[in-house]
C-alpha cells in the first residue's frame, strides 16, 4: 500500500466500523495538528480536522486520528467516556492564575479568566489524549513501518513544543500547580518515545529538570493497565490521580 492508500485504509476502517463517513477538513485556525470529532448518535459523519501546515504528514495524522476514533467506537458503550471539569475547577484555576499574575503588568486582571480557560482546556485535552495516544503510536510504529518517517517528524514537532513546559517561559505563564502536571505528562511522553526509538536525548531535558521519576511512574502505570479500549478510562483516571489532576477533572460515561 502506498501512503495515500494507507490513509484511505484507516478512513475505511472507521467508516466500516461506525457506519458513518469521515469528513476530512483542513482548518487554518485549528490550534493543534489534527483531531477527529467522533459523530454522536444524531450526527451524520465524523469530522477529521487538520491544520494545513501539517498537510505533508497527513497520512500519519489520519492514521493516528482514525485509530483514536476506533478506540472510542469499538469500546463497549459502558466504557466510553468523556473528561469533564469538576465544579470547583474553574474557580481554583482562576484564583491560582490571578495570584500568579498579581504583580505582572503584562497580564490585565480581566484577561485572567480567559487565559485560565485556555490552560484548563489544554491540560484536560492532554490528560484525556496523551496516555492513549502513546498506545496508538506504539501500534502504528509496530504495524505500519511505512509511516515511521512521518510519525517521527510529527512526534518530533510535538516533542519540541512540549519541552517548553520545563523552560522559564512556562514558569512565567502559569503557576507550578498547573505547569508541573503538564510537564510530568510531557516527560512521560518523551521517555516513551526515547525508549521506542532508542533516542535518549529526547528525554534528557526532563531528566535535567528532575522529572525522571514522575515519567517512570506514569509509564509504569501505563504498562500496568491492559491495552484494550475498555481500559482507556482506567488509564486516564490513573494518570489523573498520579499527577493530581483528579482534583480538577473527572471521567464520565459518555
Amino acid at each position: 500500500m502506498d501512503l495515500k492508500e494507507l490513509q484511505q485504509y484507516f478512513i475505511d476502517r472507521v467508516e466500516a466500523t461506525s457506519g458513518k463517513n469521515v469528513l476530512l477538513q483542513s482548518d487554518p485556525k485549528f490550534s493543534g495538528h489534527a483531531t477527529i470529532r467522533v459523530a454522536k448518535d444524531n450526527q451524520p459523519a465524523h469530522l477529521l480536522l487538520y491544520k494545513p501546515d501539517h498537510e505533508a504528514l497527513l497520512p500519519y495524522l489520519v492514521a493516528f486520528q482514525c485509530e483514536f476514533a476506533l478506540r472510542t467506537i469499538l469500546a463497549e458503550p459502558d466504557a466510553q467516556f468523556n473528561l469533564v471539569l469538576k465544579p470547583n475547577m474553574m474557580d481554583e484555576f482562576v484564583k491560582l492564575m490571578a495570584k500568579h499574575f498579581k504583580n505582572d503588568s503584562t497580564m490585565p486582571a480581566g484577561a485572567v479568566p480567559q487565559f485560565s480557560k485556555l490552560f484548563s482546556d489544554g491540560l484536560g485535552h492532554q490528560l484525556r489524549s496523551m496516555p492513549i495516544s502513546m498506545r496508538i503510536d506504539r501500534k502504528l510504529h509496530e504495524k505500519f513501518p511505512e509511516l515511521h518517517s512521518m510519525q517521527r517528524k510529527s512526534i518530533d514537532i510535538q516533542l519540541q513544543e512540549n519541552v517548553h513546559s520545563i523552560g522559564p517561559y512556562a514558569k512565567r505563564s502559569a503557576p507550578n500547580e498547573i505547569v508541573r502536571p503538564n510537564a510530568m505528562m510531557n516527560a512521560a511522553f518523551a521517555k516513551f518515545f526515547s525508549i521506542l526509538w532508542d533516542s535518549p536525548p529526547i528525554f534528557s531535558p526532563y531528566v535535567a529538570a528532575g522529572y525522571a521519576q514522575d515519567a517512570a511512574k506514569l509509564l509504569e502505570i501505563h504498562k500496568s493497565i491492559p491495552n484494550e479500549p475498555e481500559e482507556d478510562r482506567k488509564l486516564v483516571d490513573a494518570w489523573g490521580a498520579y499527577t493530581g489532576l483528579d482534583n480538577w477533572y473527572e471521567t464520565k460515561r459518555r
Binding site: 518517517s149 517521527r152 518530533d156 516533542l159 519540541q160 519541552v163 517548553h164 520545563i166 523552560g167 522559564p168 514558569k171 526509538w197 532508542d198 533516542s199 535518549p200 536525548p201 529526547i202 534528557s204 531535558p205 531528566v207 535535567a208 529538570a209 528532575g210 525522571a212
Partner: protein, 354 residues
Amino acid sequence: MSEEFSFSLSFDDFDRSLIGNPPIGSDEFRLGVAKFFTDQYQGIGGSARVIIDDQERTIEVHWTKSSSGMDPKQKAIELLSDGNRQEALPILTALLYQTPNDPEVLHALGLIYIDLGDFAKAAHLLEQALEIDHKFLSAYVALGVAEILAGNLLIGEEHLRRALKIDPEDHYALKNLSATLMKQQRFAEALVQIKRTLAVAPDDTAMMIEMGDCLNQLGRSGESEQYYRRAVKTGGPEHLLDIAKARLTAKSESVLKANDEVRQDVVEFMRKALKRFKGMSTEDIQCIALEIAVLGTKGLGINDSKKTYIIDSLPGEFTALELVSIMYAAFQQFAPESDIGIDLSVEYRAATRD
C-alpha cells in the same frame, strides 16, 4: 535536512543532585551542567551546543540531529549489516555507555567482536544481553557461534539448542548447529539438523554441500552427488560453487579410477584426440580445451556413458568422459602444468607411448 531540538532551563530548575549538588551558578555547577548534557548527547549523532547564560540564569541546549534522521542504534545496526563494523563500533560503544542494559546494543557489539576475533569479549557481551533478555534468540545464536569459534564446541552447541527451543526453525541456529556437529564428527546427528536447515532454507548452497559431505561420511556417497549438483544448479558465492564442483570432480574421479586400473577407453579417446591435434594450430587446440572447460563448469557426468554432447570446435557427438579425455590431452599440448581437476596422467602416458 538537519533538524534542531532545543530547550532551555532555569538554573533553579536543573536537578543538581545529578551533578553532586554544587551551589547554583558556581563553576562546579556550570561544569557539571555542561558535562551532563555533553554525556547525554555524545555519540548520538549530530551536534549539541550547551549555552550557560549567567545573566539570564538559564541553560540553553541546542541539539542538531544528524541529517540522516536515523536513530543511532538503527544506524549502527545498518552499518553492521553492511559490513562497516569500524564505523558501527564507536556508535555502539557510546550507546552502551548510555544504555548499558540494552540487549540489542550488547548483541550488536557481540557480533562485532566475533568479527574481530575477540571471542571471549563477544561471549561476555552476549551473555549480558541474555541475562537481560532470556528469550533473545539472535543472542543465543551469536553466543553459540562465538563459543564454537573459540573452540568450545559443546558449549556452543548448547546455546544453539537453546535458540532452537525459542524458534525450532531459525535458519542460523540450525545451520551453525549442523556445522558444529559435523566438526565434532557426529554425522548421524548432523544429518538430522542439515535436513532441518534445508527444510527452512532450501536454497542454502552451503548446506547442500554439507549434506553431501555428511552423506559421504556416513558411507552413503551414492546419495551425495545429487546435493553437490543441486548446489551447482542453485548457484551462490563462487567459493562455494568451486567446492561443490571440486567434490563432483573428485567423486567422478574416484568412480572412474575405482579399481586403480588404467582406463583403456580414456587411452583410446586420447589417442584419437592426439591424431586430430596433429593438423591443428596451438590456438585451435586451445579453443577446444577451453570450450570443454567452460562446458565442464556446468557439470559433466563422466560416469554417464549414455549422454552425449556437441561442441563447436570439433565435429561429432561426445560422451562427457570422451570430452574430458580430449581436454586433458589438449591441455598437455600447450599448458601441461595445468591442473584440470582430474588426474589422467597414466592414461595420457599410455596414449602417447605408441
